[in-house]
């Protein structure tokens, strides 16, 4: 099965304030957006499990005009805390790249 890295145009992550991270999946076109939107591997539950956060803290936004799926959740390690190794959360998107997208 193809994974997110094979279908998405561009995926990025960034700190949204010191306590949140947000991941933007740019799908490029409506057909790909539809596939990504429906992928179980990108649901709030699946993302929560992958990143080890609670499912009710994960917010998923379908930004249809831009064909973007946006996923935000509180960071387990706030920005700059003693064991944080990615201050700007710039690499948080990488584990999602292998999420299966039917």
């Amino acid at each position: 099965m193809p994974s997110l890295k094979d279908v998405a145009q561009y995926v990025r992550s960034k700190a949204a304030g010191p306590f949140w991270v947000t991941i933007d999946i740019f799908c490029g076109d409506a057909a790909t957006f539809e596939r990504v939107r429906k992928a179980q591997s990108l649901s709030a539950d699946a993302v929560a499990k992958l990143y080890g956060v609670s499912a009710d803290s994960v917010r998923v936004f379908e930004v249809e005009p831009l064909n973007v799926l946006k996923i935000s959740f509180p960071r387990l390690r706030p920005q700059g805390s003693p064991h944080d190794a990615d201050s700007h959360a710039g690499q948080y998107f990488v584990p999602l790249l292998t999420a299966p997208v039917p």
Binding site: A16, F19, G80, P82, A85, Y92, T98
Partner: protein
């Protein structure tokens, strides 16, 4: 941009942050577009808790002075206000004073006599404790309730001002307003809001331009001009050869926002869900349909406090035998270090923190497939010691040096030596700070927690304003 609307208020935004620079040609073109105000933000929490905790600027003084001079010279040509938010990166009182000193120097060098208002929003923890005691401070997700101890544990606390303190300073005749911590949007929305332009479009315009040229197609080519009117707002790049497109403008709502539609500001919630982005021509965009909901008036608080001192040792290993069994090697190394630190230095593991990050082998601790990765060719080992004092952190790091240099994979292996890049190997990183607040304080007057001071520059001196 649309044909000039009689009711419009135009905001020249030179860059996303003061100190990052705006090409002179782009800025000069902006001045010809008849702006009512020049406004820019000078800070952020984006670079971590150090800048607020230590109260120092991330930007160098020379870069800030270069940019501030450009803006002050431009401002003087048109006789319009210049607003700078979040002075000194974190917007502490020291950041405002630092900017005021630079401003005074430039005024002397450019022979300008200007009225400068300083807005301070650093907060006294004891005063905030009285708000806490009366239940006026609430957490924002994912924080829990605040305690008085947490307030005391912060080295600096700032409140993010809304637009009202800027409006009051301009009404009082300020030419230049240098402010402590401000929401990125408020500094840009201040003049449109004080002129009575609609609330939703004014805040949405501010949000669109908060990162300067990031809402354009060539984001490193200078800032933008906003034009807010009764029906919405227009945005165009300052540089003639740059463009805003409906996509570049609408996509900016995604950036660094956990919610792509709603943005909470002091006293208001912006809602951009029904906003419509339309190309006016090849390089400018009109935005309509931004709305808002009035909210109780709150200031968001940011606080940072020291949690210890750090010393780092960085080394590298590429021996294939160790690369093949890196996890076992690191497990044995950690155990050996803890045992030695206890027996020789007398420190129990809960008195310090020893973090070894294997760069090249999932140092970022990312979830997922890390366990099935192939053996790395080389890893960089960042050994980070955190302790209550710098001396103790360095003592532990120095004690660990022989093991970080020579620790064998198996007890009977011949003694290896690893690759240290520096002599001395220990790098003192100073104080480690942590963001401690994610809370809002309810206030009845937007200026309740803001202090204002005004002066006029005169030949390098500051004259008090009665």
């Amino acid at each position: 941009m649309s044909p000039s609307r009689p009711d419009a208020c135009r905001v020249l935004v030179p860059s996303g942050v003061l100190g990052s620079g705006c090409p002179q040609a782009a800025f000069d073109r902006g001045l010809t577009l008849d702006p009512h105000v020049i406004a820019v933000d000078a800070g952020s929490t984006d670079s971590g808790p150090y800048y607020l905790g230590a109260g120092v600027s991330k930007m160098t003084r020379k870069a800030v002075k270069r940019d501030l001079r450009q803006l002050m010279v431009g401002r003087a040509k048109l006789g319009i206000p210049l607003l700078i938010g979040s002075c000194g990166t974190s917007g502490t009182d020291a950041g405002v004073d630092w900017m005021a000193e630079i401003c005074t120097e430039i005024a002397a060098e450019e022979s300008q006599s200007v009225k400068v208002a300083l807005l301070y929003s650093e907060q006294d923890p004891e005063r905030l404790a009285t708000y806490l005691a009366k239940g006026a401070i609430s957490p924002l997700a994912p924080a829990g309730p605040l305690t008085a101890e947490t307030l005391k544990a912060c080295d600096h606390i700032v409140g993010l001002m809304g637009f009202e303190p800027f409006a009051a300073a301009i009404e009082d005749g300020a030419d230049i307003v240098l402010a402590g911590r401000t929401t990125d949007t408020a500094v840009l929305a201040a003049v449109p809001l004080m002129r009575g332009l609609p609330v939703g479009p004014s805040w949405h315009a501010g949000k669109t331009a908060e990162c300067g040229g990031l809402c354009t197609t060539k984001s490193r080519n200078g800032g933008v001009m906003l034009s807010i009117d009764a029906g919405g707002f227009d945005v165009e790049p300052l540089a003639a050869d740059n463009s805003c497109t409906p996509r570049s403008v609408s996509a900016h709502m995604l950036y660094e926002n956990s919610d792509p539609y709603e943005l909470r500001e002091p006293g208001v919630m912006l809602n951009a869900r029904d906003a419509v982005y339309t190309a006016i021509d090849e390089r400018s965009v009109r935005v309509t349909g931004s709305s808002h909901v009035a909210m109780p008036y709150t200031l968001k608080l940011e606080g940072s406090g020291a949690v210890g001192y750090r010393t780092m040792v960085f080394s590298a290993i590429s021996d294939p035998k160790i690369m093949a069994e890196l996890d076992r090697f690191l497990g044995r190394l950690r155990d050996r270090l803890a045992a030695g630190i206890r027996s020789v230095l007398g420190y129990e593991p809960d008195e310090y923190d020893f973090d070894i990050r294997a760069y090249g082998a999932n140092a970022l601790g990312q979830p997922g497939e890390s366990t099935v990765r192939p053996a790395p060719l080389e890893v960089g080992l960042m050994a980070l010691v955190t302790a209550p004092t710098q001396d103790m952190a360095t003592e532990i790091a120095k004690f660990s040096n022989p093991m970080l240099l020579h620790f064998p994979l198996n007890p009977d292996d011949p003694m290896p030596s690893f690759a240290f890049p520096f002599s001395p190997a220990e790098v003192e990183l100073g104080r480690l700070y942590e963001f401690k607040l994610q809370h809002i304080v309810s206030i009845s007057d937007p200026l309740e927690l803001v202090r204002t001071s005004t002066f006029t520059t005169h030949q390098g001196e500051r004259l008090a304003v009665a």
